[in-house]
């Protein structure tokens, strides 16, 4: 399998960059090839330790995994310590889907099972040998990234021998990668490994061009090389941010988009070019919002990027980034935030003016009965299509519009003292070919009117694992009150 990530020259550039960055930042990171194998030596009766010695235990990551400690991060999305480097493999077909595999060094990340502090656990890989295996799944026909956890499985083989137990990778979000699946996978030694991925039917409610599709269990297989070169590449390609920025509110730009967004040459995503426009638009917007709740100046971020020549992704086969549509892509009425009951002024007009719940931006839109969108969104192919308004709630990350999937949301609509919908009517997690993953409700037995109050409650926060920078947000999410604006 061909590796599209970098040519040798690019690797050299990255390494120089890396050395310069390390000097400027912390000096914590040592080159992979210079590491000591202390980790393994403590573990004398581990049979793998011997393999390690044969391979040269200095060749695993050891203490060389990039540091990710950020002191006292805010309870919000924040800038991590560094940009990741990874090897992106050729996307492969899996039935109607495409699967884009990406590999890096074993990562720290946070798993979540619930909403309180106890329900969050940081995974710190203790084995220096292995990979952080990731992949993005998308529908070939619509380009929709599939951001839901239905129990994907991976099995790793060394020839005919299965390596370790099967794994169900976590659904995860990261600033650079958006929504993806991933986990740390321990590997016994250097070599060529084969990965079999099986993907069960997508069981989430589906609308638009996804109705009655992706209902088959499918699988795909890819190979990768695990060796010294790989380790150098994924460690050496790491780029530290200036330490002063660590933990600042803000987010790294999407790897696939932000690298190019402001600087032209963004050439991928032929099949959904509108997303490119979003990005350009959004990046352009930033300057006007620096005085908002962005403490971090995104304009700088991009300059920084270009200085560093963070490249290497120009020529890989493109993997779509899971950004949701921009606010002006929604044809329905965007609901106003309740703080401003006049409606017009309170209607968010761009991403940055969306209300926040534990730093998640919450977009709510109402589609009128009879509109093309309402009809599409009401039709999930299951049973009779009931006509009515459609209420769509779309929580997303505050900078990169990554969907916050696998949460549970409910809604209460009130007019004066009457409850029109609810209380706490469950919204159905829905994957639409146009508006992506959202939480929706067909309003078929009543009518929501201008002036109605719409309270969205987050019953449980997005149960997706988080990379650094998303680990302290979207956890304890207060309700958001909207108002239906005058037409």
């Amino acid at each position: 399998m061909q590796d599209f990530t970098r040519t040798t020259d690019e690797t050299e550039i990255d390494r120089r960059t890396f050395v310069a960055q390390t000097g400027a930042a912390t000096g914590v990171l040592a080159l992979a090839g210079c590491l000591s194998g202390d980790d393994d030596e403590e573990d004398g009766d581990d049979p793998d330790a011997e393999n390690g010695d044969e391979n040269g235990s200095g060749e695993d990551y050891g203490d060389g995994r990039p540091t990710i400690e950020v002191e006292d991060p805010p309870n919000a999305v924040y800038l991590p310590t560094h940009r990741e480097a990874m090897r992106m493999l050729d996307p492969i077909e899996a039935g109607d889907m495409m699967l884009g595999p990406m590999l890096s060094y074993p990562h720290d990340f946070w798993t979540i099972a619930g909403s309180g502090e106890d329900a969050v656990e940081r995974e710190s890989p203790d084995s220096g040998r292995g990979v952080h295996m990731m992949f993005t799944l998308w529908d070939q026909q619509t380009g929709t990234v599939l951001p839901v956890d239905d129990g994907v499985q991976i099995r790793v083989y060394d020839g005919d021998e299965q390596v370790g137990s099967p794994v169900s990778p976590w659904s995860m979000i990261s600033q650079e990668m958006g929504f993806h699946f991933g986990d740390n996978v321990t590997l016994p030694e250097d070599g060529t490994y084969t990965v079999e991925v099986t993907i069960p039917p997508v069981s989430v409610r589906k609308t638009g061009d996804l109705v009655d599709r992706l209902d088959e269990r499918v699988s795909a297989t890819f190979e990768f090389e695990y060796d010294d070169e790989f380790r150098h590449e994924v460690i050496g390609g790491v780029q530290y941010l200036d330490e002063a920025e660590w933990g600042d509110r803000g987010a790294l730009e999407p790897m696939d988009h932000g690298d190019h967004g402001e600087h032209g040459g963004h050439d991928g995503h032929d099949d959904h070019a509108h997303e490119d426009e979003h990005d350009d638009h959004e990046h352009g917007d930033h300057d006007s919002h620096d005085d908002g709740d962005h403490e971090h100046d995104h304009g700088d971020e991009h300059d920084h990027d270009s200085e560093n020549g963070h490249n290497g992704h120009d020529d890989h086969a493109h993997v779509p980034y899971s950004a949701l549509p921009r606010i002006d892509e929604y044809d329905g009425a965007i609901l106003a935030t309740a703080d401003d009951e006049s409606g017009a002024d309170g209607v968010p007009t761009d991403h940055d003016s969306l209300p926040r719940s534990d730093d998640a931006a919450i977009l709510a839109a109402l589609f009128e009965d009879g509109s093309a969108d309402a009809e599409r969104l009401a039709d999930d192919g299951e049973g009779d299509v009931t006509a009515g308004q459609y209420l769509l709630v779309s929580p997303r990350t505050p900078y990169n519009r990554v969907p916050l999937a696998d949460a549970a949301l409910s809604v209460t609509v009130e007019r004066d003292d009457d409850t029109i919908v609810g209380p706490d009517a469950a919204l159905a997690e829905t994957l639409d070919s146009e508006y992506g993953i959202h939480y929706g409700l067909v309003i078929d037995d009543t009518q929501i009117e201008p002036g109605d109050s719409v309270t969205v409650t987050i019953d449980s926060p997005p149960q997706v694992a988080r990379h650094q920078g998303y680990d302290t947000a979207f956890l304890e999410m207060p309700p958001i009150e909207f108002t239906v604006p005058e037409q």
Binding site: P47, D48, T111, I112, A113, G114, S115, G116, D118, A119, E121, E123, D126, V148, D149, D150, G151, Q153, Q162, G164, S165, P166, V167, S168, W170, S171, D183, T186, P188, T198, P200, P201, S203, R217, A405, D406, A407, A408, S410, A426, E429, D459, S460, P461, Q463, V464, A465
Partner: protein
């Protein structure tokens, strides 16, 4: 087959590894080990010459097992599942011959003479697949629910047990299950136990389907002895009886033997058995989730929030601490908590509050990976399917990773069996009354 290296393993690890390997040399090594430790090898109580003194139900194990101080049955420690295919010479016109039946029955009686019917001696069942019964012109009688095995979730793609029969051997003594297997299928000299030579012509009747031979173990502390196996992390709690770190098989979460018994027709005092074999992903379970998360996923979010479980389940008595309210709250927990427990979900498959399954599952390191052989007895296979659907929880509004322990189990095989009553255990016809 190569034997495990004695020098690198504890006694119990070594015994477990020997059972997994099987065969005459493993048996010999196992006997050497037990006689070396005890001074005398014969510590296994002997059986009976009077077959009528034994229970009519092959699966009448509970009253021949010890119980813990909470009243929970302590299952036998060592298990072997021997898949069996009828030989051609055992059949005439496709149906088993009288000779084959006679050989099978006399073999089983030999085992009953050699070993006491108890966890300290030997317990066994012999069950038959739907494929076996297909050879007969008649159908199974009404009241026996034995469908072909099927995939039960959209994420699994299991192979099926399509051989004829399954012999489940269980004992607290590793050398017992080994020597029985060796006596039945080995080509060395027959072992002798308690003055009974384990001679048998069973090999004339059945071939052992080697690639589907399965082994395992259960008991406090046994799982942690496998931390040398790749995929078994050091973090498995020391006292845990199962790999996933918690007790299971609480008396009040188990069906009684009466509950699972077919009560009329020729197979009265029989039952159905489902056997599924699965990988368990333990590294992620122990190294990426904390105890709070594990308790939420194994029992319920309330168990975690109110600390009802203890480290390995020791705070729970003879039940899993699931109130009716907590079971009914499963769907609400999915939305409100974002996570539901395995036990909480599966309990939704209860009928009038009674658990329908009698679980006899055990952990394994077959294939050098941690796994589970899930053996359950129930009146109808449909009971199992219903509980499994409740446990799968496809109806719940919760992501897969937080849907009980689905994230951690990978089903590889399924098989359904009829365990006839003892009187019909030797190659029964599909409808013995016909």
């Amino acid at each position: 087959m190569t034997l495990p290296d004695r020098s690198t393993l504890s006694r119990r690890e070594y015994a477990r590894a020997l059972v997994a390997v099987g065969g005459a040399t493993a048996l010999s090594a196992c006997l050497d080990m037990s006689s070396g430790e005890n001074g005398a090898e014969n510590t296994v109580p002997s059986g009976t010459d009077d077959p009528d003194s034994l229970p009519a139900r092959q699966y009448a194990w509970n009253e021949f097992a010890t119980r813990d101080d909470k009243g929970n049955v302590e299952p036998p420690a060592h298990h072997v599942l021997l898949p069996l295919a009828l030989t051609e010479r055992a059949t005439a016109d496709g149906e088993p011959t009288a000779d084959a039946r006679e050989t099978t029955e006399s073999t089983l009686r030999t085992l009953e003479r050699a070993y006491e019917w108890s966890t300290d001696g030997l317990l066994f069942t012999l069950g038959y697949t739907p494929s076996y019964f297909e050879r007969f012109d008649e159908d199974l009688p009404e009241g026996v629910d034995l469908p072909e095995p099927a995939a039960l979730t959209s994420r699994e793609d299991p192979a099926f047990d399509e051989f004829d029969a399954l012999l489940h051997l269980a004992s607290n003594h590793p050398e017992v299950v080994l020597e029985v297997e060796e006596g039945l299928f080995g080509d060395q000299e027959e072992p002798e136990r308690n003055g009974v030579v384990l001679e048998s012509n069973l090999i004339e009747v059945f071939e052992r389907v080697d690639e589907n031979r399965r082994t395992g173990f259960v008991g406090a502390g046994l799982p942690t002895e496998h931390t040398d196996v790749s995929g078994v992390p050091d973090a498995v709690p020391k006292d845990a009886p199962f790999f996933m770190g918690f007790r299971s098989g609480f008396d009040r979460t188990q069906a009684s033997e009466d509950r699972v018994t077919i009560d009329s027709g020729p197979f009265a005092d029989g039952t159905t058995q489902h056997v599924s074999s699965m990988d368990i992903q333990l590294e992620v379970w122990f190294e990426q989730e904390n105890h709070y998360q594990r308790v939420s996923k194994m029992f319920s979010p309330e168990h975690a929030a109110e600390e009802l479980v203890g480290d390995v389940g020791e705070e729970l008595g003879a039940d899993s601490g699931l109130s009716d309210e907590r079971i009914e709250a499963t769907a609400a927990d999915a939305r409100q908590e974002g996570v539901v427990g395995h036990a909480q979900k599966a309990a939704r498959g209860r009928e009038d509050g009674d658990p329908p399954l009698l679980r006899r599952d055990f952990n394994t390191i077959d294939g050098d990976r941690p796994g589970l052989h899930f053996v359950s007895l129930q009146h109808d296979i449909e009971d199992f399917v219903r509980v499994r659907e409740a446990m799968t929880g496809a109806d719940l509004d919760v992501p897969s990773a937080n849907n009980g322990i689905l994230h951690y189990i990978f089903v590889n095989r399924r098989g359904n069996y009829l365990l006839p009553p003892r009187g019909l255990r030797a190659l029964p016809a599909a409808n013995p009354d016909a």
